[in-house]
């Protein structure tokens, strides 16, 4: 038989595996996410919610702050779809305007939380030893407080305002993110591609930004979508307890709080914003779970 001799110096070009997966990572994730009905429903609700928040002035049938005492406690009707509250303000309009605060409260503290958590988590995980010990001890201390209590303490100290809600929720929230990022960094740090970057002489700061952070993004995304409803709920709880948003702002939590006294005479005042909170929190949770499933093969990697 004739065997091709001297294989070694024959010029060879390896044909790339054209047939192999061509989709990029995100295309692939989006494709499997689209098949998840609950996640898509969640996504749709969130999209609507964002639109409502943006176009609130055009959508709200009445001025949410306009007090008219002769319209107190109107039952839901064609005129007032969700009825009116104790000051005769239209509940629907207040919910529509309230979505702005909820969205803001949902996203801004979550972003701050993420940012702080990422920075501390990566540094703790990558450098280990003393740095890790200090950062993780502080985060353990934060986590060992009941989070609502801690947020209340901060609010009492700083006074109730939107900005202070952001600060309170960020102080409470970063520790959880830092834990997740640290754990992820610890496992990535020992991956060969990080070792390879070290072997090349890439500086630690660049390794963290170029090699570790991009590989945490799937986890962070899931965490972020689940963090938002957490923030919304925390704000609602704070407002309910009277240390959150202050009247006349139309925060959903505050609306529930104000409506609770009239729960038996005029249940719609408290129930409608309650349902709004429930729906949006569920929507974010569905999307987050869907994302987690879609990213699952990548998370396991």
């Amino acid at each position: 038989m004739n065997i091709a001799k001297n294989m070694l110096f024959k010029k060879e070009i390896i044909e790339p595996s054209d047939e192999l997966v061509k989709e990029t990572f995100w295309q692939d994730v989006f494709k499997s996410l689209r098949k998840d009905r609950m996640a898509m429903a969640g996504g749709t609700i969130i999209a609507l919610f964002i639109l409502v928040a943006i176009f609130a002035p055009y959508l709200a049938p009445y001025n949410p702050y306009e007090v008219s005492l002769d319209l107190q406690f109107q039952k839901p009707s064609m005129e007032y779809w969700l009825g009116t509250d104790m000051f005769g303000r239209d509940v629907l309009s207040r919910i529509i305007y309230g979505s702005r605060i909820s969205l803001l409260i949902g996203i801004v503290p979550s972003l701050i939380t993420m940012l702080i958590g990422i920075i501390f988590g990566i540094i703790a995980g990558y450098f280990g030893r003393k740095t890790d010990f200090i950062i993780m001890t502080v985060s353990d201390m934060v986590l060992s407080f009941p989070s609502l209590l801690l947020a209340m303490v901060v609010m009492y100290t700083l006074g109730a305002s939107l900005l202070n809600i952001f600060i309170a929720l960020s102080i409470v929230g970063w520790a959880g993110t830092a834990r997740v990022v640290r754990a992820q960094t610890l496992s990535l740090k020992n991956k060969e591609f990080v070792e390879s970057a070290r072997a090349i002489g890439v500086k630690p700061s660049i390794i963290m930004i170029r090699h570790i952070l991009p590989n945490c993004i799937p986890q962070l995304l899931v965490l972020f979508t689940l963090e938002i409803p957490g923030s919304i709920l925390s704000e609602a709880s704070l407002s309910f307890l009277g240390v959150g948003a202050q009247p006349p702002a139309s925060s959903w939590g505050l609306m529930v709080s104000n409506g609770k006294e009239f729960l038996f005479n005029a249940p719609w005042v408290a129930i409608s914003p309650g349902i709004a909170i429930l729906v949006i929190v569920l929507a974010f949770n569905f999307l987050g779970d869907g994302l987690r499933d879609a990213l699952d093969p990548y998370l396991k990697q």
């Binding site: 065997i3 091709a4 294989m7 070694l8 060879e12 390896i14 595996s17 047939e19 192999l20």
Partner: protein, 328 residues
């Protein structure tokens, strides 16, 4: 067709995976026969379908995979479409399997001895616990586990890889299985431990007269252990022959290439020419080449190879080849 000495006969087995991207014919129309006391080798590279063949026999194919055709006759009984309860009573009893990584098939929260005894009790309803324990300890002794009484009580993570694989073998053989399927049983082990396990398997096979299907990518293990060998490539059997015949006179260009491309530790080798290598790479199972599956990598490929898929032809003395060069 079927005589008494045949323990397993697979006819035209097709195991397909129905994925979003298309149908993957992981096992594509293969026929295998295992006689009593025989060690059969199924050899091939990753993705050739060798592991899927073993999982098909054990009825462990999970969706989107499905056995799309053919029959698996184990002691003349077709396992395809058999009820789950019936399969469970066969599995671990007359038919057992050992995997590459024993850690994944042992429960980490139970002592290993108890787990082996469990298998025994499951298939022998009347056996007493003390008797089962005694039997397990005997079996541990047989598979060369030192201090079997103490080892009965330890947890999987307290054992080394080699000992864990011995426990798996004990578990597989405690019910005196008729057929043992070993899927890369030594790939995760060190060379000196691998040699121990292979020797153990061979000794046990002679003692208990179990038939073994050895699934491996390592041609050295095939040469050392098997009586008869099937070479798989991209879901199909390319060549099958007696082990001596296959290594001495490989007929399929793929087998020939594989045998030539492995360096050997027992002889000095000339480095000047480079190692022989099969060009290209394993085809994507979603987009198999037309004609012979191996033709894009074959140095003898002709026009005809690109058109028609060759049949498996008998070239005499139980040597079958799927290549256009050979005729009946």
């Amino acid at each position: 067709m079927n005589d008494a000495s045949t323990i397993l006969e697979i006819n035209n087995l097709k195991t397909y995976f129905y994925t979003d991207k298309g149908v993957v014919p992981a096992v594509d129309d293969i026929s295998i026969k295992v006689k009593k006391g025989q060690i059969i080798g199924i050899v091939g590279e990753s993705g050739c379908g060798k592991s899927m063949t073993s999982l098909s026999i054990m009825q462990l194919i999970a969706p989107p995979g499905k056995i799309a055709g053919g029959e698996i006759l184990f002691q003349n009984k077709n396992l395809v479409g058999i009820s789950k309860a019936e399969m469970r009573s066969l599995r671990g009893n007359e038919l057992s399997m050992i995997f590459q990584e024993p850690m994944t098939s042992l429960n980490p929260v139970y002592p290993v001895g108890k787990q082996v005894a469990e298998t025994l009790l499951l298939h022998n309803k009347h056996m007493k616990k003390a008797e089962a324990k005694q039997k397990v300890i005997e079996m541990f002794k047989m598979v060369g586990i030192p201090e079997p009484e103490e080892r009965y009580r330890v947890f999987p993570h307290q054992l080394s890889g080699g000992l864990r694989q011995r426990v798996m073998i004990a578990m597989a053989l405690i019910c005196r299985s008729k057929l043992l399927i070993a899927d890369e049983p030594t790939t995760a082990l060190d060379v000196t431990i691998e040699a121990q396990i292979l020797k153990l398997m061979k000794n046990l096979q002679e003692e208990i007269d179990t038939s073994i299907i050895m699934i491996t990518h390592n041609l050295g293990i095939v040469a050392e252990m098997c009586d008869y060998v099937y070479v798989m490539y991209a879901g199909k059997i390319m060549e099958q022959a007696d082990v001596y015949e296959l290594f001495d006179h490989p007929k399929h260009p793929y087998t020939e290439g594989l045998l030539k491309s492995i360096p050997r530790s027992n002889v000095q080798q000339n480095k000047e020419k480079g190692l022989y290598s099969i060009k290209g790479m394993v085809p994507n199972m979603l987009n198999l080449p037309k004609g012979c599956r191996f033709h894009p990598r074959c140095i003898y490929a002709e026009d005809a190879c690109r058109e028609v898929e060759p049949d498996l032809v008998d070239v005499g003395e139980g040597h079958l080849v799927r290549c256009i060069k050979y005729k009946n």
